[in-house]
Amino acid sequence: MNCETVKRDLSLFLYGELTLEEEQALQDHVEACPACRQALEAEKLLHQALDERELEPPATLLVRCRQDLSRRLQSGAPARPGWLAWLRQPLGWQTIFKPVGAVALVALGFVAARWTGPGAGPPAMPLGEPMTSQVRYLEPDPSGNLRIVVEETRQRVLSGRLDEEPIRQLLLAAAREARDPGLRGETVDILRAQPEAADVRRALLATFEHDPNDGVRLKALEGLKSFATEPDVRSTLVRSLLVDENPGIRIQAIDLLIQKREDALVGVLQELMQRESNNYVRLRCQRALQEMNASVGTF
């Protein structure tokens, strides 16, 4: 490393953005070269001068920002179904279920719309049938009439087998859309009998990764066990290993992942050792690393 390179890299050195080798070479050079040592001191002073220019926002500004944000979120939220419901939109499921979602909601009757009960709908609706309805649009005209758009859904009973396409599609939608975790769990139980179907596998993966209920996630994991060496399943397992809140699921994820011992897994497990707070998971992780003849830390 010569003086020109050193002077060019001084700032990156102070930011800790050089490679270990570059850093070592720079330090060696600076030790032996008074001019570069002086340049390094000047660079430090420059950084220090810049440090002093940092502005800390006044506390009053932060308070005003928070209050106004809160007000804007409150006032910007639609009256129904509310921003909370809006935020409840599923992750990545729209693409899987969009074409069948509406049908499924009607048929299985787990739509989150308001239950009006028999006879509670507008007069034009046939009475006596179970129905859910929701006002979507309202327009008064100058004569005093009201034009109301009502979205309605009707319950009906379908029967069939899992290998029949409409039934499977309805189940796929139910696995995600049903509000009742018991129903989602039952659906996953049925679906996992056919994990070789690509859409079922996607559904199991999505349920395993996103379902808020531990029991449902575990059922989905059961269904994925026979595919634990497949890349899509493994990458989902790795993500869950690092973010799933349930230690039991994290342990099962380790068990499945080490069925295929690959180099990339060592890094994942070592990272887990760094961040894992549950002793059982740590122990399982440690044992897995030992089984793979890998060190526990990354050093």
Binding site: E17, A49, E52, L69, R72, L91, S277
Partner: protein, 197 residues
């Protein structure tokens, strides 16, 4: 804003809860990051009002798009992507208008942007105070002369302490490109301020 491992796991839980509609979790997410967002905007834009606008727009965007967050980068990186883009846009507008003045109106009255933080002012030494003021003006000028992208990269690295890899991710570019930007920014700083330090 850098989170430890346990905190990062907590944060993942908050994000999931907020995505599922938990308002309190959303608020916790905002509270965990909003000071850094405001500081970044304030330092980049050197204006309380502009920083306020960026803060509001950033979290409204987070609110509208949180359901799209897929954990394929850290939440911090995702958030910085939003705030950085907003600040770059604002800086570009200013460049186009060439309107930036050294004096800004704040809640406490007009203030010279080139002033150092009051706590950092040298006390009882007029010569040092003058030097410090001149240095402040020079720093203000050189920051103005950086391109918006150089400015953001410098700010994220120097004041926010982000690694170049994370900066590249936040700005939708490579680590190498972020490094080049930082390198150019520090070169300009050195050229403009070298005789002061």
């Amino acid at each position: 804003m850098e989170l430890g491992s346990a905190a990062a796991l907590d944060e993942a839980a908050w994000i999931r809860a907020a995505q599922a509609g938990d308002q309190a979790a959303f608020e916790r997410l905002v509270r965990a990051h909003d000071r850094s967002v405001l500081r970044l905007a304030m330092n980049l834009l050197r204006s309380e009002e502009d920083a306020y606008d960026v803060y509001q727009e950033t979290f409204l965007r987070v609110f509208r798009s949180l359901h799209l967050f897929r954990f394929d980068c850290s939440f911090q990186t995702w958030l910085y992507r939003i705030v950085s883009n907003l600040c770059v846009d604002q800086l570009r507008k200013r460049k186009a208008r060439r309107e930036e003045s050294a004096v800004v109106d704040t809640a406490e009255g007009p203030r010279d942007r080139t002033d150092v933080h009051p706590d950092a002012r040298p006390q009882g030494d007029p010569e040092r105070a003058l030097l410090s003021r001149q240095l402040g003006q020079r720093i203000f000028q050189v920051l103005q002369d950086l391109t918006p992208r150089e400015r953001v990269v410098f700010e994220l690295r120097h004041y926010q302490g982000l690694r170049l890899k994370a900066i590249g991710d936040a700005l939708g570019t490579s680590e190498e490109a972020a490094k080049t930007c930082l390198f150019r920014a520090t070169q300009k700083m050195r050229a403009a301020l070298g005789d002061f330090v």
